[in-house]
């Protein structure tokens, strides 16, 4: 099982769906860097530690995978790369469930694993959302917090990983369609 893939999809795939839930104002949770910006390299793994400042009176929900399975709403911190500072929380490229609640008025810190796929100067943005297994509790809790970062280049192929993956998929589709066409042609000629 690959739980983190599920987490990615939780944040990406869950629609608010108009459910009536209490959504705190966006400045009730603020984000800061809790350490130096690490060295980033294309396809290199780095941890970025962020501080979550909970300015609400109540706790910011956190918990275990069992809590998630039981349908409790949990907060997720996430990060994504952007070409310019983001104004709203966008699709997370890395998502981490808060393993424990952050009490009201207190701070919490968490590491986010970051793996850039494009070299150059970019903005690394962070956000926090809340969600539950059924999606009913989905809410964006923060405004994006963005920092400029420099991502070092890798090899020729490493710098073009998305294109490489697309080529792998397209090649297979071409093979499949060509084989299907050949099969139809062969069956027709054979009668």
């Amino acid at each position: 099982m690959m739980p983190y893939r599920a987490l990615l999809l939780i944040v990406v795939g869950v629609a608010p769906a108009g459910a009536v839930i209490a959504v705190p104002p966006l400045d009730s949770v603020r984000l800061h860097l809790a350490g130096p910006v690490p060295y980033f390299r294309v396809l290199g793994d780095s941890l970025v530690r962020i501080r979550i400042e909970n300015r609400q009176t109540g706790p910011l929900e956190g918990g275990s995978t069992a809590d998630w399975d039981h349908g409790l709403p949990l907060a997720f911190a996430g990060a994504w790369f952007a070409d310019a500072p983001a104004s709203v929380v966008a699709q997370f490229e890395a998502t981490v469930r808060l393993p424990a609640p952050v009490p009201g008025g207190a701070d919490g810190e968490i590491d986010l694993p970051i793996r850039p796929v494009r070299p150059g100067r970019r903005w690394l943005c962070f956000g926090v959302v809340r969600s539950s297994r059924d999606g009913a509790a989905y809410a964006t809790l923060t405004e994006p917090f963005c920092v400029p970062v420099q991502i070092a280049s890798g090899s020729f192929l490493e710098n073009r990983r998305p294109e490489l993956l697309t080529a792998v998929v397209i090649t297979h589709w071409i093979a499949l369609v060509a084989s299907a066409a050949a099969a139809v042609w062969c069956l027709r000629t054979r009668g």
Partner: protein
Amino acid sequence: MILAVALLAIAGYGAARGILRSRDALAAAALGTASAWALFIVVLNLLLRAHAAFLPAAFIAYGTVVGLGAWGWRRARNGGPAVVDRVDLALLGILGSAVSALVLLYQFIGPDSDNFIHYPLVALFMRGQFPHVNPYFPDIPLYGHYGRDLGLAGLLTFGGAGIGTGMMVEAWVLHLATVGNAYYLGKRAGGGCVGGFVVAYLAFFAVNSGFADWVVRSGLAEVSGNNNPVVYAFFFAVLVLFSAFLLAPRLETAAAMGVLLGGLDMVYETHFDILFASLCIVWLSMFLPKMRDRMRPRARSMMMASLGLAFVVMLASGGLTSRMLFQRLRHSPGAAVSSMAADWARAGAQQDVRIGFPKHPFLTLTHANDGRGVRLFSASFLSGQGIGLSLLPLAAIFLVYRGNVIGLLTAMVAILSLGIPASFDFGRFNGENFRFIFLGGLCAALTLGIAIGEAFGWIARRRLSVWVRGATLAAIGALCAWQASRAWTIYQHAALMCRSFPHVLRITEGERLQQFCMTWGRGDEEAARFLREHGRRGERLLTNYVVEDHVSSNLLNNAMVVMSQARLPMGGFNQRLQHDTGGIQGSVSGWSGQAIAFWATGDVDLLQDLRADWLYVVPRLLAPAASLALQNSPAVSQAFRSERGEDRLVLRVDRAGLPARPKLSADTASSLSLVRVTLPDSLPLETFQLVEVSLGNSGRAAVGGKAYLYYRLFDLRAGSSLDESDSVGAIEELAVPAFGEQSFRIPFVVPYNEGEYDLQLSLTADPRDVVLGKTRIHVARTLPTLAPRAGLAPAAPSARISR
């Protein structure tokens, strides 16, 4: 390694063409690749069982397969040219491209949850560790389930690829071979190319088997990790050989079938047992009047010989089935059972399978998630299965009526795969019936595919109008499309990952290692290379590597990477008692108490228990106290320090130089007793603490001298003592006055489960250790908060002593 695989495939092709007399080039390529890989594993294993060294054995096994291939090529020259059917080629192109895409994307996405055991096993085989041991518990020998890792280790010795890359190549090559084998199985079973296509399609994309409320596997294309590519390469190679044998009973085919079937046991004992039993039943059915007319007596004799050969190879291979048979013959008593939880932990680490009959309740499967019973003939189970299983009775009756022996075999495998786990009790491994269920679903799908092919062939032979044939084909197409909806969803998921999350996919060996250990880099490569070169078989390793990324880089996977790159096993883990037993559970999940205490203190005395010969140290993760203690210990010396990348240290432990544990005389120590234990207010699970223990002296004389004070915990809820590796202590200087008390602060590691424990304190003495007393402690889960590094206060006190 990739060249070695290519040569193996070429040799297999030659053997299939020349020895097994396959004129069809594509069929020979598919069968040859799978058979050559399988034969390499079988021969390598038999050589190692005959006490050959690993490297020569790998080369001899490889040479044997290549030699057979060369002989086959030579014979093939006399047998006429190879033929390629264009329709087969096109249909296999459709199936192959779809399977290839899914396998590659899934391999890139990884990680496989069972890599924690397979990576180190492959590495230890490469070190020459045979018979194999549990890498996390090096004292425990393992028996079965290792063929895939052994074969991969053998091919990796040719160099050029890492373990992760090797797994990817293996999955891709063998799954593509299995596509071909499934296709030709369906074709030869009487369904022609339509039957072949439907059989392979259903097998790879439309099995849909599992538990509807947990995990349902869509088909072989999704099951491309772990042992599966090798298991199904063996499985389908045997089925194809059987189908070839039915068409033309030849000694070579029967022999190949026997060798591969017998070898399957040490790869996947469950599948061997089911397939062997099914083939025996099919063999018996050959004596039925209707079948007897079709099979010549010589064919029946040859098949019996083939099954006999399979049995002999199975016994000689030393897998789990042979071990259980020998145990039963010797009437060896099993290990004593102290409690359910203890037995659960021990059986998991030792691969100790016990079989009971009948299972209670009867005809009930075990849910892989939580171990609850699921009635075999219940709506909740059957509603989660694919159409193959739903139509199995109908398809099986039709194929029996048609006298289709291959269909009879696949139906029999399907029935036994579901009937056996529902009727037999496998104890701790009941949750593993997930494997049986998938095999059942797969073979039910094969049966349906063969039945569809047979029915379509019947329609095609009737010279009905083109509209009837077209409508039949359209109906088959609609059925295939409908049943593959789950596989399509999986593809869409993989495509979404490619498109939107390309950073999640990992291709190169280094990337794959970083998936499990995110800071793995140049420094680690240097240190691991040093250990590969200087470590010796039988030595052990310990590391303090813990880099958590909340994804897949964690303590266990970090250790797995260090072990697999250094090719040394790592003690330092414990067999954990589970309060809730059931379902599929891993046998290892974290460090033992001794390992936690060692990395917190650096007390080299603990290395006597941990039995480590090398320490793989990430200096920045080393506690200051441990760093100081290791620097000052004469028994530990620096053997290597990385020059590039992040700082890594390899320390050599001179185990002979570790100071012996002092002992008091038992008579002197008998006057000592435990007075009290004072625990800290907060006891987060699995953390190191110092606890104060007070000893009282009831004797008239003072007790002095050095002794090793240690404790052992008894989990009252589980009804068993914790593993010995969770027993921690320290050498203390005793000076307990007559009728007085003395207090010590001894290391204590909070257990991994909350609950009530009896803490028993003992002291090393001559001739035997003396129990000083027992006290009850309560460990409650500390409510965690997400605190900054030096921020929020811990939660309320969580442990108290109750005498």
